[in-house]
Subunit: 237 residues, 2 copies
Amino acid sequence: MNAPEPRFARVAALIADASRARMLALLLGGEARSAGELARAVSITPQTASTHLAQLLDAGLVTLRAQGRHRYFTLADADVARMLEALASVAERDEVQTRWDTARFKPLKYARSCYCHLAGDLGVQQHDALIAQRVLVSDDAGALVLGEAASDWLHAARFSGEAVLSVRHAAKKKRFAYGCMDWSARRDHLAGAFASTLLTHYLDRGWLRKTSTHRALAPTPSGVGEFSRLFAAAFRQ
Amino acid sequence: MNAPEPRFARVAALIADASRARMLALLLGGEARSAGELARAVSITPQTASTHLAQLLDAGLVTLRAQGRHRYFTLADADVARMLEALASVAERDEVQTRWDTARFKPLKYARSCYCHLAGDLGVQQHDALIAQRVLVSDDAGALVLGEAASDWLHAARFSGEAVLSVRHAAKKKRFAYGCMDWSARRDHLAGAFASTLLTHYLDRGWLRKTSTHRALAPTPSGVGEFSRLFAAAFRQ
DNA sequence: CCAATGATTCGGTCTGGGTCGAAGTGCCTG
DNA sequence: CAGGCACTTCGACCCAGACCGAATCATTGG
């Protein structure tokens, strides 16, 4: 009769603290951050941050890479990012319409990094376009795999021949591509290894650039053109 | 520079408390529960439960239906269920393999209700089978819609003619069917309005029955036969 | 080998929030 | 109308855990 305490309560408790939540929100940007950097960003002393990070590490929400006397933290994996986005999607619900339309949040709504893939309206467009153009198709199990139009599209997106091969190789792995609920658009954007590769590519080609402080990503003039060409099929909406 | 406190921290705080988490876990079963019932289930006094439920209600995690002097609570919507499952999927990670194989948890892993659809191994089989048989197919935007084999399958599943029509009508709505990460199987099971209809149908036909205390669902002898027939395509693995 | 810097550990303080007893409100039944 | 039941509100208590000061460890550079 007596329900046992669910394990998710413990994870929720880790996210519940304002300082830890702000650290996690920063890490959602995808980049590794040192302990001190995180402490300063959320205005707490290094020793407090240290205890917080130890807890996040212990629970497996973040991973650690020590480099000299710095310790760099990143989100553990895409599952953690998905969980945070799911929380945000419930937390933001009704606020979305009003808040997102302010000038301050518009860039964030248009495009941002989520862990290490593209989110926001542009991420949703990417998701819809790649499926509509059959670059990605559902296999028998409902997972997304490369479709018949994949090679053409990758070529059009200026992937090199060897890069295409490496994508094709990665496509065999689990978690290659899947939908992830976008909390501002409230529709799926594209997540997974393929989505990471694409975002890296966009940044490398200079179609997107990171903005100073936030997770927001701004398209460059050349990027605007490329995206409207590559995602043309999704622009019908 | 100073990162604002993310709104999801507030939601996480609501789930972080052991008593509230246990209530939410109970409500994940999909059935409405009265305040007193929830209080007894988690071993707290009615007045404590009342403050908890008021908070959950205020945050929109649960909804309320007052009936006489009883107040019945249910999970607010499928987004909340998805969020809880995402949390659980991170929280359970490594435990899954060991814990689920104990006799105590096996029924839960095999089939359980998630909000108001079918989860667990059977839920994953359903998801995979309906897609493999093209009862459900992805549309241009990646959402699942009824496919060319839908009518035949519904007929085979003993849906009446008018029930088939009502399903076809419901198929136009948003959130008709979509994948939802299953935290025990770690693959997608089927969620959405269609999934709810199917679970209700299985219960009505006596193919599944609710077990006493948990969210676990047990297949009846006739259910075993029906499921192996209806989900045949997924039994390859 | 000695600062200087990044990070952790320890000990003590303090507050937010969960808890229950007691009392109050509303609804249903006899 | 009276009594009972489901639930809520109020007040007081108490404790887990966030926080910081001080000290310690580790790495780098001079």
